[in-house]
């Protein structure tokens, strides 16, 4: 096969930075590869991706060679670079340029100077190929995030892209939309032989699709090879928590041979090493809580946005207690965020009630886009204003920030924070309102594995200190790591509400990957640790 990209001895240093972002990178990427670049935040994976696109190359000192085919990328003809190498960014909103889907898809072709008839044909073909015919005339601002990413993809494919470079394309999407987007990528790779190079946090869904993986650590390539051999290197780079559950079980049990990546492979591996023997259940003790009086109680709440609309909430019943984390899971558009806004007092039910055990500012809500909480130039500015609002001074800000490990972030500009840092600062903002109930909308969206782990730990600690935490999420794995109790949101109400263990082990479909791998093979368990604990116990005996 012809190499698509060749990178030889590439080093790159950002201006005003001492240590290089990339150091002596050597890489050959074959045409038709589906490659994942992974590594911690700041490992240089995004920089490497940007090196492959002439227009995205950042300013700085560059040494070594980077070739597309036989041509140096910097010397690539503008038309070739624009049309053959497509680049998709993380933010679904900002990368779209035009007001309608049709215009957006035509934009690149217009830049290439394609005549009108040619544009019509190509745009129509691309829209049919990606199943966008239904939203072809839609306005781009009316689309969901998943649709926006598909439109961005269609826009570069229409130009004739043979290579797709994607920088965390799914991190702002819900799991269903992300799975759809990945399925499209997989199809483009399989059916049209398009070369795909992407970075992503969600290794659980991405890694099984990839043919190869490159692992970076502090600017150096520590692994480059087939995806099946990557998990050990990824774990070595400090990203074990991001790996697919199957791979984590494999690594933790010291498995040998090819590493399982998907749930199916994981099940085969697990039944092989347990050899059919099922252990007795080890039901963990539910954490003791004060179930005497709920701090928040929703009774038979009905809500609709406009008089003539249909109901969004249909008899919602919910109780939240101090000292617990309750996670509401459910599909997109099931009314989760509406329910949260109702409890935050932003919306009011037309029938039924939302009651709190305390009267004064009972709730604080973390919006899905937590950056919206910060309006000042520094994090400190916003936090001090929030503290002053409840009649406290600077000490309260320092104290709260120190408690969440965000003291060093106070003088930073909120726009420059990473996802995890921003969530920490936003939680500080919430805590400064002194509200006993914290309502969180998709707190883990867009976070990488270490930041998710950290957030999960902070939320559990807050609950232990007496707060009541309610989070709504699509992210089953995050809920499993964080929640004491879980509820399934469906059809405008909470269908099931029980402790996390019963919730996740009671279902084999709507549950974690670890549960799907271990169901029927080991005793009920829903986290990787629970599964491996049983296996290690078995080995000891």
């Amino acid at each position: 096969m012809h190499p698509c990209f060749t990178v030889e001895g590439l080093s790159f240093t950002y201006p005003q930075s001492i240590s290089p972002a990339l150091e002596n990178v050597n890489l050959t990427i074959e045409e038709g590869a589906f490659l994942l670049l992974c590594g911690k935040t700041g490992s240089g994976k995004s920089t490497l991706l940007r090196m492959l696109k002439r227009e995205m190359t950042p300013h700085g000192t560059l040494r070594g060679r980077r070739l597309y085919g036989d041509t140096d990328i910097a010397a690539l003809d503008g038309r070739v670079s624009a049309s053959k190498i497509g680049y998709i960014m993380q933010d679904p909103d900002a990368q779209l340029v035009c007001d309608s889907v049709a215009r957006e898809m035509a934009y690149g072709l217009e830049n290439l100077g394609t005549p009108s008839d040619g544009i019509r044909r190509t745009v129509a073909e691309t829209a049919s190929r990606l199943g966008l015919a239904g939203i072809f005339h839609a306005r781009t601002d009316r689309l969901s995030s998943g649709q926006k990413q598909l439109v961005a993809l269609a826009a570069v494919l229409a130009m004739g892209a043979r290579v797709l470079l994607l920088d965390e394309p799914c991190s702002m999407l819900d799991p269903i939309a992300a799975a759809d987007f990945l399925a499209v990528l997989e199809r483009l790779h399989r059916e049209e032989g398009i070369t795909i190079i992407m970075t992503d946090h969600r290794l659980e869904s991405v890694l099984p699709l990839c043919t190869g993986a490159v692992v970076l650590d502090e600017g150096k390539v520590i692994f480059s090879g087939p995806a099946k051999d990557a998990p050990a290197a990824i774990a070595a780079a400090g990203l074990e928590a991001a790996l697919p559950a199957a791979s984590r079980i494999f690594l933790k049990t010291g498995g040998e041979g090819p590493c399982p990546l998907s749930v199916g492979e994981g099940r085969r591996y697990l039944s092989r090493i347990t050899a059919g023997g099922v252990l007795e259940a080890q039901v963990p003790n539910p954490t003791s809580r004060d179930f005497a009086k709920p701090v928040l109680q929703v009774r038979d709440a009905w809500f609709r946005y406009h008089k003539k609309d249909s109901d969004v909430l249909r008899g919602l019943e919910l109780s939240l207690y101090s000292g617990e984390v309750l996670a509401l899971l459910g599909a997109c558009g099931s009314g989760k965020t509406t329910a949260l806004s109702l409890m935050a007092g932003l919306l009011h039910p037309y029938s039924g009630s939302v009651k709190f055990s305390c009267k004064k500012n009972p709730t604080a809500m973390l919006p899905a886009n937590s950056g919206d909480l910060f309006l000042h130039d520094t994090v400190r500015g916003d936090l001090e204003q929030a503290a002053a609002h409840t009649g406290r001074g600077t000490e309260a800000v320092e104290e709260t920030a120190a408690m969440l490990g965000a003291a060093h972030l106070l003088k930073r500009n909120p726009r420059d924070l990473s996802g995890g840092e921003r969530q920490k600062c936003a939680l500080c903002r919430l805590l400064l309102t002194d509200a006993p109930v914290l309502l969180l909308d998709e707190p883990a969206r867009g976070l990488d594995a270490p930041a998710r782990g950290e957030l999960s730990r902070i939320l559990r600690e807050l609950a232990r200190s007496g707060k009541a935490v309610l989070l709504v999420t699509h992210d089953v794995a995050f809920a499993a790591d964080t929640a004491d109790r879980c509820g399934l949101f469906f059809d405008g109400k909470v269908i099931v509400q029980e402790d996390a263990f019963s919730f996740f082990t009671g279902s084999t479909a709507y549950t974690t990957a670890a549960r799907r791998i271990s169901a029927g093979i080991t005793a009920p368990a829903f986290t990787v640790d629970q599964v491996t604990a049983q296996l290690c116990g078995r080995r000891d005996r």
Binding site: A94, S100, I119, P367, L439
Partner: protein, 294 residues
């Protein structure tokens, strides 16, 4: 999908601009009424005027038609005196005609903007100035986005007990956050444009509308009507005198053919829409006769 939407933007522009201009230019009660009739019929078939707006339209009509007699003292037939001002039949008629014209022109303008949405306008003027067209398209995207962002930021702050600042200061904070957000987005959008060859020379413009044979026919019919109306006007039709005394509506030469052609022209879109509606319904019931398939 309305039939009018399938039409090429060029004849649409031709018709609506002519309709608005004619409405304003013919100071004559009969064409004024015909124009209003055409606009009302078309709008009620295309996108009905919301009921709550009708009182305002009536108030506008009454205000314009009743202020004229108060300020114009011309006219021979005095009907009565209002605080020593003679109110004449002629000035009342002129006021009513004026109001009708205004209403008709207003409704035609509204129809124009319903039918020629951003993309169609872009197409009409985009060929000449592809860069301007692109900027227009980007602006059309930006405005709803910023409105949505403002709403999101405000809700986010309210969910956390407010900004903690005064009302005026809060507005300033929202505004500055919005500007920062817009700047950041435009950096990303700029990169995204560059990635897709935004700085390449020789940009073309995609015209998503095809000028079909039917559109040629429509344009030809419209031009014929325009020529007819203008020719009749040149021959003296369509003239009307309000002062000192009202002239009869049949006084001008060639009045009947003028009214017929003018009225038909104004009713064209409504008739086309209605015809499409009926033929569609008939085609459907022919294809699926009642009782069949049970």
């Amino acid at each position: 999908m309305k039939k009018t939407d399938t039409c090429h933007p060029l004849p649409l522009l031709l018709f609506f601009v002519a309709a608005v201009l004619f409405s304003v230019l013919y100071m004559h009660p009969v064409p004024a009424l015909l124009s209003l009739l055409g606009a009302v019929c078309f709008l009620s078939l295309y996108q009905p005027i919301p009921l709550r707006e009708i009182p305002y339209l009536i108030i506008l009509f009454l205000a314009v038609s009743l202020t004229n007699p108060v300020f114009t003292l011309r006219g021979r037939t005095v009907l009565f005196f209002l605080l020593d001002i003679p109110i004449t039949l002629e000035s009342l008629a002129a006021g009513a005609t004026n109001a009708t014209l205004l209403l008709a022109a207003l409704l035609w303008c509204r129809a124009l903007f319903y039918c020629l949405d951003g993309d169609r306008l872009l197409y009409l003027f985009g060929k000449r100035a592809p860069k301007t067209a692109l900027i227009l398209s980007m602006t059309l995207r930006f405005i709803p986005m910023l409105t949505r962002r403002l709403r999101e930021i405000r809700t986010a702050q309210q969910g956390c007990g407010g900004t903690g600042a005064g009302k005026l200061r809060s507005v300033a904070l929202y505004f500055s956050a919005l500007v920062t957000c817009a700047l950041e987005d435009s950096v990303t959008a700029g990169a995204s444009m560059e990635c897709r060859g935004g700085d390449l020379p020789g940009r073309s413009f995609w015209a998503p509308y095809v000028f079909t044979r039917r559109d040629k026919g429509i344009t030809a019919v419209l031009l014929l009507f325009l020529a007819g109306i203008l020719a009749l006007t040149a021959a003296g039709a369509g003239a009307f005198r309000f002062y000192p005394a009202l002239s009869g509506i049949w006084d001008a030469p060639l009045s009947l053919p003028f009214y017929c052609i003018y009225g038909l022209f104004m009713l064209l879109p409504a008739l086309w829409e209605a015809w499409a509606h009926i033929s569609y319904a008939r085609a459907l019931s022919r294809a699926f006769p009642a009782g069949a398939g049970k």
